[in-house]
Subunit: 279 residues, 2 copies
């Protein structure tokens, strides 16, 4: 199975595109909504929570985990990969983040070498995007801005309301003056107000589709790593992409399903609550 | 010692008045900011987290705990009191919430017997205010409204901005039509925008000071329970109220101190990070 992990519903905006691009595999989506949002927690806390989620998924037999949460990808991925795979010389399991493929795409797309990133405070504070993009091209200038209110506004389904547009405008005011040609949505909630953000930034600024980038990058990865690809189980004939997904969360199933279906664009059933704090 | 527990900084708006009213005692303030906010979590999760906090404080020798968090008071207090005190026949330790004193005051203050409550989703969903007020006077009609965006707006220090006023106005639109004469701020964050809320509700609606009510109620309680009062340690001579407070939290000390000082109206020092998940 492929495991997709997020602190809450946000990663469903990534899962949507992964299951579209790679409909044959079996998936398990894990949301730690008893302790979310992660975006304002410390590195130590995010590492601890991510470690528990990864332990759980490996215990369940998952071979490949996508950490579909920028806060966890920025603050915890490297540490977790080191301690759980590199140091133990584990080769048949993999943990991938969402940051690198998005950074690669941005480096490819930018013409004026000025890239903007909006994200949670955890992600901007980690400087993960600056580091990742600098590895690809030191000449690219990266401008980051944390937009902590956008997650609650989107979760409360105020995304379409004028107050959200005004708050987004206030967050993006300085960004507009930086003359970036690409703006990365560095939080899995933001694609739900992609249109509003695009309108505020204006026609000259490209806002790439994060879900498509991550899905394509995963497809490429599986093509380059047949040893991993072969170990993944596939759904039976006649299964649609989303009927191959098992959902797990850590709190409040009905609310998760109601909000999550908006991120996924599809109803969520087949869900079970688990406790991560023991892992 | 008196323990004051909250999921985050909110309870400091209560602690401020308690230490003013009762400056001689020693206090420990515990904030579970690695897992906050509690306001959108389920009852099961809030009970679990509150149990761990109460266990920790009792282990530390605290004799009297104020659960200065409406979400925890509404969803967890009764269960925790039952399992940790009543069932074990413990008489020398006490756990008090903030809901009952506030409900009592509202029942006393209302003349037209129409009381409004704004709170988090956890608190409104629990129907705790309706239950508590009905115990005092079945003739009082209680109108509740959850305002989930106010906590993040206040925590992000957008409380004074026009967007917050607009969102508060939208939340209170229906409440204004209910002709309540008292509006309870059923979340410890809301006192930070008390002025805005009062202005929106208009001059005919009284918005009681929650911190004062809880502090006076605690003073009364100690007067009525000398056996508890005697067991509480006091600060040395010359100590000011806030120099008698030890602060504990579960994540990100600098951010907690910076935001918390606004709730407390005083700088926060003497703080230590602890781990509640083992309790």
């Amino acid at each position: 199975m492929i495991g997709v992990f997020d602190s809450g519903v946000g990663g469903l905006s990534i899962l949507k595109y992964i299951t579209k691009e790679l409909p044959d595999y079996k998936y398990v989506y894990l949301a730690d909504n008893a302790r979310n949002p992660y975006g304002n927690h410390s590195q130590e806390t995010v590492v601890k929570y991510t470690r528990q989620a990864v332990n759980y998924l490996f215990d369940r037999g998952v071979k490949l985990i996508i950490v579909a949460c920028y806060s966890a990808s920025s603050l915890a991925l490297r540490t977790i990969q080191d301690e759980m795979l590199v140091k133990k010389n584990v080769k048949d399991r993999k943990i991938l983040g969402v940051l690198r493929p998005v950074a690669e795409e941005a480096a490819k797309l930018t013409k004026n070498k000025r890239v903007g990133v909006i994200a949670t405070r955890a992600t901007t504070g980690s400087k993960a995007f600056e580091t990742e993009i600098a590895k690809l091209d030191k000449g690219i200038r990266v401008f980051v801005k944390s937009c902590p209110l956008l997650v609650p506004l989107i979760e409360e389904q105020w995304g379409d309301k004028p107050e959200t547009r005004k708050i987004a405008k206030a967050y993006l005011r300085e960004m507009k003056s930086f003359n970036v040609d690409n703006l990365i949505l560095g939080c899995t909630h933001y694609p739900l107000i992609q249109k509003t953000i695009s309108q505020i930034m204006g026609k000259k600024v490209n806002v790439p589709n994060i879900g498509e980038i991550v899905a394509k990058s995963l497809k490429d990865y599986l093509g380059r790593h047949p040893e991993i690809e072969k170990s993944l189980s596939k759904g039976g004939a006649g299964n649609t992409a989303l009927s191959n997904v098992e959902f797990l969360n850590t709190d409040k199933i009905p609310e998760f399903c109601q909000l999550g279906s908006k991120f996924l664009g599809h109803p969520i059933t087949n869900i079970k609550k688990i406790d991560l704090s023991e892992y």
